[in-house]
Symmetry: C2
């Protein structure tokens, strides 16, 4: 059996770092990642990549230049390429991401939060 | 605000048909779809497309030629291109799919269950 069933809660239990997406799947050149959010991230955008955020546990606010969107478990948001955004979580949120394999976490910004290589769970 | 927050449970409440995926999002040429499974589908494969199945509610069994995998809420499976599979659900399951925009529900098989066009929710 080459195929692997992934349990999202079990996968989250395997790491504690925040703002450090872990790769849990790959398909059609896209990555499935799990990330823990808490606090404020940096404003950024991705020039060539759309990004999907699906809340698994907790909640967070996606700040956008023209308003904010609150996201709860079972809700998702697709941020199209070119749209500036900043995720902010008052308490820790567990989020699943879908985005191309090439997506850098901080998009067009490079700073101390930029991760060039992501761990695979 | 051009961006749309999608609530998965609310979206499922908007349709009852089984085996009829509804499009709820699109990113990077990939579609996010919701589908209700019950009973046995047809054996098929997708020659050029990987397909992801994430269980939202209920459970189902993915039958594969070399064994089966049971999937529960919060678990997902990626079926790579070329791999024959058949989803089977004893009771209704609610499943989120990620796959390219071009993916046909019955893959390399065309029969009465094939859907050429999918509805957008």
């Amino acid at each position: 059996m080459g195929l692997k069933r992934v349990d999202i809660a079990e996968s989250f239990a395997r790491f504690r770092e925040q703002w450090s997406p872990k790769i849990v799947g790959e398909l059609n050149g896209q990555m499935v990642k799990l990330v823990r959010f808490q606090g404020e991230f940096v404003w950024h955008k991705h020039d060539h990549e759309d990004e999907m955020f699906l809340v698994i546990a907790g909640r967070f606010r996606m700040e956008l230049r023209d308003g904010n969107l609150d996201l709860e478990p079972g809700q998702f948001l697709i941020v199209p390429r070119g749209v500036e955004h900043r995720p902010v979580a008052d308490a820790e949120a567990q989020v699943m991401l879908f985005e191309p394999a090439t997506t850098l976490n901080t998009g067009d910004v490079r700073n101390e939060r930029t991760l060039e290589r992501l761990e695979r769970l």
